[in-house]
């Protein structure tokens, strides 16, 4: 069969290139595994890049409020694909009960403690130089401005006003001690691309994405802050068809984004993924 360079092939080739650059450049490298569809694609791309192997640890930040199906799926895949799974959790905050579901703090503060701080703690503990994160430019305005290799300073902060130039696939891979790099191999994908690729490659995803009783999850997070949407899409092709016609934002079901005009932007600047 004659090769034709389809859009998905181009996306895949670019992501593989980025993953191989990251693997070569950073000795202490991990992937952040959110257990969502994008993470599934990223794990798949790791296996593409490294010929069936997942040669780096995968970190899951467990807020303890994740939907139970997600944890079951995570553990199954970790076993089947031989993944070195590392689970991070902000035990102190959970023990004190200072969470949004307990009514003690806002959604944004809760995200900041249970996700951002937990991630920072594990990066410091393991001394990771770089973390691979599956964000995409089409998800949301601030993510649209990201780089493939995006530095975070000692305080975990993202200086979006002074980002390194990125051209001709030459990335910033040198940095001062104490800082780390976020690597974003899916930056150029769209939500539909992710599903098209899941379809083409038969990549497993959590069942929550598929419609049950007229509802499905479009974006997965913590149970108290993530709501399903009305949908009849029960298969991957049905999801693709649905997304082609929707005009609703992907993260519209994530309540923490809606608290203030710039809520998500502030979360990201302070080190959220």
């Amino acid at each position: 069969m004659e090769f034709s360079n389809t859009h998905l092939d181009a996306l895949e080739n670019q992501s593989i290139y980025i993953l191989r650059e990251a693997y070569r450049k950073f000795k202490r490298l991990a992937m952040l595994w959110s257990v969502g569809k994008d993470s599934s694609v990223m794990l798949w791309l790791l296996r593409k890049a490294f010929f069936g192997h997942v040669p780096i640890p995968c970190v899951h930040v467990d807020t303890s409020y994740k939907l139970p199906e997600m944890i079951a799926f995570r553990d199954r895949l970790a076993k089947e694909w031989g993944i070195n799974l590392i689970v991070g959790q902000n035990r102190a905050v959970l023990d004190r009960g200072e969470t949004f579901p307990n009514g003690r703090i806002t959604r944004v503060e809760c995200c900041s403690f249970l996700k951002r701080d937990a991630l920072q703690a594990i990066i410091e503990e393991k001394d990771y130089e770089a973390v691979i994160v599956g964000i995409r430019r089409d998800e949301e305005g601030t993510r649209a401005k990201e780089r493939y290799f995006s530095p975070r300073d000692k305080n975990f902060e993202w200086n979006f006003k002074d980002q390194p130039p990125e051209l001709w696939d030459q990335f910033k891979t040198d940095f001062d001690p104490g800082t780390h790099i976020r690597v974003h191999p899916l930056l150029h994908w769209t939500e539909v691309n992710v599903w098209e690729y899941i379809d083409r490659e038969n990549i497993p995803v959590v069942d929550l994405y598929f419609s049950k009783h007229g509802m499905r999850y479009r974006s997965l997070g913590c149970a108290p802050c993530t709501k399903p949407v009305q949908s009849r899409a029960r298969t991957v092709p049905e999801i693709i068809a649905e997304l082609r016609n929707t005009k609703t934002g992907e993260r519209s079901t994530r309540a923490q984004d809606q608290e203030a005009e710039d809520a998500f932007e502030r979360l990201r600047a302070s080190g959220y993924m």
């Binding site: 069969m1 090769f3 034709s4 360079n5 389809t6 859009h7 998905l8 092939d9 181009a10 895949e12 080739n13 670019q14 593989i16 290139y17 191989r20 650059e21 693997y23 070569r24 296996r47 593409k48 890049a49 490294f50 010929f51 069936g52 192997h53 040669p55 089409d138 949301e140 305005g141 601030t142 649209a144 401005k145 979006f160 006003k161 980002q163 390194p164 130039p165 990125e166 051209l167 001709w168 030459q170 910033k172 040198d174 940095f175 001062d176 098209e196 379809d199 083409r200 490659e201 038969n202 092709p237 693709i240 082609r244 005009k247 609703t248 934002g249 519209s252 005009e261 710039d262 932007e265």
Partner: protein
């Protein structure tokens, strides 16, 4: 696996468009409006911005749709590159909204470097401005060839055809100098959505071209360079299991199982046993753009940074090259400082040898001749030397391996494209497997004692062009400056070292080869060697260059130019006369060709200037290169 038919939009390549132009000429407004008019905005987004604008007591601002960051809303300037998807009836697009503010060059470059096409925006009421030109210049450097010019804010000039035509003529003339042929000029009024998706009709009856959206749909997606020379950039070598896989990307051309691949710079050859992919259909070839792995039949040494090619089309390998660069660093690019050049997967420490000219991107004039540094936001032609060999191509031959970035203290501070590099067919170069003894007195030690670098100044030109005169004058001048200089010419080479050689084509090649080898040794010992030979063939001069550069010695090709009739008139040795009379055969210029140098380091016109003037010109060029701060650079 699903069949291709099951996918709703297989093979659709989203066209990446960068939008550039002078500050306030309406880039973000255009994007906002385009998203709205193509129905590509998420529900509620338009209303959300309406609320924000009302809350701030201002009219609806289209640019807010993109300027999602708080900081930008306050400054009303697009700080960084936004990427937004939209879809026409026929295909999808990614728009990169690049900033127009001068300080934000690096963000614009980030946006434009991987665009398939560019929209250049000019406000009709202001006309062509500084950044309209600067951005166009950068686009030409970044290799964006598909350009549409939008003349915006036509409402502010009452849709005047004469204003439109004047701007078009102005800009067309400027773009032509850059080698950019715009696909179209289109009048629009972005704020009002005029001529974006709907035609202008009544307001500008004089315009009969397409709307912006139709013009976009006419663009063709870029072809991957599958037909070009093979360049396989090695990223890594994996041994996760029993297989040893050389992983990398095909930057140009096509690789096939069974191909003999030369890996430069060390030029070991092995053939492709298999092409490796995971969970993909087996194919025995891979083309430009593909990230693959290969297994080799022989276990030769290959590592990251090596570039694989076919032995019929090998790349340039050199540690000295010329390039057109743009500089974004806070600190100027200057001689005497160390940088890292990143070219494909190669990373090599390098130094700026000279700034050959600084270019005013808005007029394309030379701002300054020889200089020692390039400031932020400047573009210039420079000569760069690297500590070890770099594998590259001229940018106009293979774009991917003809461009590089310069890293200054961890940060990508500049980018450039390579020109004027010399190709040598590696398959025809004699192998040099002679053991090279390294004494304790090294090149650097000699350079330090002499107070100048070793160098080969290779004069080439027709008989009677003035090579010998110039060579002797140069030698004397350098000698009087306490520099070690020595002329190699027919008188001291032909009668001794090369006395067994005649004037047949074969002997001429051998003559030049020996001269190059001798010049290399002498220059390595610290001398400035001035060679004065007709050396009429490009290939021979290219080989000489390679021989000499291989010893980390500077090679300056100086073309001594004078028209044939002038040389024939001078005829110092009466050789032309004899050749015309048929007494001498194969005489260069008469019945044997002289191949004019394509990219000499310097050209001296001896028919236009006196010997003294020619000498001064040559010295102006050579002295800064000879006196380079050698202590900074350990070879």
């Amino acid at each position: 696996m699903s069949t291709p038919e099951a996918k709703s939009n297989p093979g659709a390549h989203a066209l990446r468009i960068v939008i550039v132009g002078h500050v306030d000429h309406g880039k973000s407004t255009l994007v906002g409006r385009l998203l709205h008019d193509t129905g590509s905005l998420p529900d509620g987004k338009f209303e959300q911005i309406q609320v924000v604008c009302r809350r701030r007591g201002m009219p609806f601002e289209w640019a807010f749709l993109l300027d999602a960051l708080q900081a930008e809303r306050d400054q009303n300037i697009t700080i960084d590159v936004s990427q937004i998807w939209f879809r026409s009836a026929t295909r999808s697009y990614v728009i990169i909204d690049a900033p127009g503010h001068k300080e934000f060059l690096k963000n614009m470059v980030t946006g434009a470097a991987d665009a398939d096409a560019a929209l250049l925006l000019i406000a009709a009421n202001e006309g062509v401005q500084e950044q309209s030109k600067r951005h166009a210049y950068l686009l030409s450097m970044l290799g964006v060839s598909q350009v549409i010019v939008l003349i915006n804010k036509m409402d502010l000039v009452d849709y005047s055809e004469s204003v439109y035509l004047r701007i078009e003529a102005d800009y067309r003339e400027f773009l032509a100098k850059l080698g950019i042929q715009p696909l179209r000029f289109i009048p629009i009024a972005a704020r009002d959505g005029m001529n974006l998706t709907e035609p202008l009709n009544d307001v500008a009856k004089w315009y009969s071209g397409p709307t912006l959206l139709r013009a976009l749909d006419e663009l063709t997606p870029p072809d991957p360079e599958a037909e070009g020379p093979l360049r396989f950039a090695v990223q890594d070598v994996y041994r996760f299991d029993e297989r040893r896989i050389v992983a990398g990307r095909i930057e140009s051309g096509t690789i096939r199982v069974g191909d003999d691949i030369v890996f430069s710079p060390n030029n070991k050859t092995s053939s492709v046993a298999s092409i490796e992919r995971w969970n993909a259909p087996v194919r025995d070839s891979a083309s430009a753009g593909e990230s693959i792995g290969i297994m080799l039949t022989e276990q030769i040494f290959v590592e990251r940074g090596h570039i694989g090619s076919l032995d019929t089309q090998t790349p340039i390998e050199t540690n000295r090259f010329r390039a057109r660069i743009f500089w974004m660093g806070t600190r100027p690019l200057s001689t005497g400082r160390r940088y890292t050049v990143k070219l494909l997967t190669q990373e090599v420490e390098c130094q700026l040898v000279s700034v050959d000219r600084v270019i005013d991107a808005t007029s394309l004039d030379t701002v300054s001749g020889l200089r020692l540094s390039v400031a932020r936001n400047e573009v210039a032609e420079v000569t760069i030397q690297s500590r070890s060999s770099l594998v590259m191509d001229n940018h106009d031959k293979v774009a991917a391996s003809g461009r590089f970035v310069i890293v200054d203290d961890q940060n990508v501070a500049g980018g450039g494209i390579i020109f004027g590099g010399h190709y040598v067919n590696r398959g025809r170069v004699r192998s040099t497997n002679i053991f090279w003894s390294e004494g304790t007195i090294d090149h650097q030690t000699r350079v330090e004692r002499n107070g100048h670098r070793g160098m080969v100044v290779w004069l080439t030109g027709l008989p009677g062009s003035g090579k010998s005169t110039l060579a002797r004058a140069l030698e004397t001048n350098l000698f009087n400056r306490h520099m070690q200089a020595y002329v190699l010419d027919g008188d001291n080479i032909r009668h001794g070292l090369n006395s067994n050689l005649g004037f047949s084509a074969e002997d001429r090649v051998e003559n030049i080869r020996r001269v190059a080898e001798v010049a290399k040794l002498m220059a390595d010992s610290g001398l400035i060697v001035i060679t004065s030979f007709i050396s009429p063939y490009r290939l021979d001069r290219a080989r000489a260059r390679e021989v000499i550069l291989s010893a980390d010695v500077e090679f300056i090709e100086a073309y001594v130019a004078a028209p044939l009739h002038v040389c024939e008139q001078r005829d110092p040795k009466k050789l032309y006369k004899r050749a015309r009379a048929g007494e001498i055969k194969n005489f260069t210029g008469i019945d044997d060709p002289y191949e004019v140098p394509e990219n000499p380091e310097i050209t001296i016109h001896t028919d236009r200037e006196s010997v003294k003037e020619c000498l001064e010109r040559l010295l102006d060029f050579l002295i800064p290169r000879l006196q380079l701060d050698v202590a900074e650079y350990e070879i």
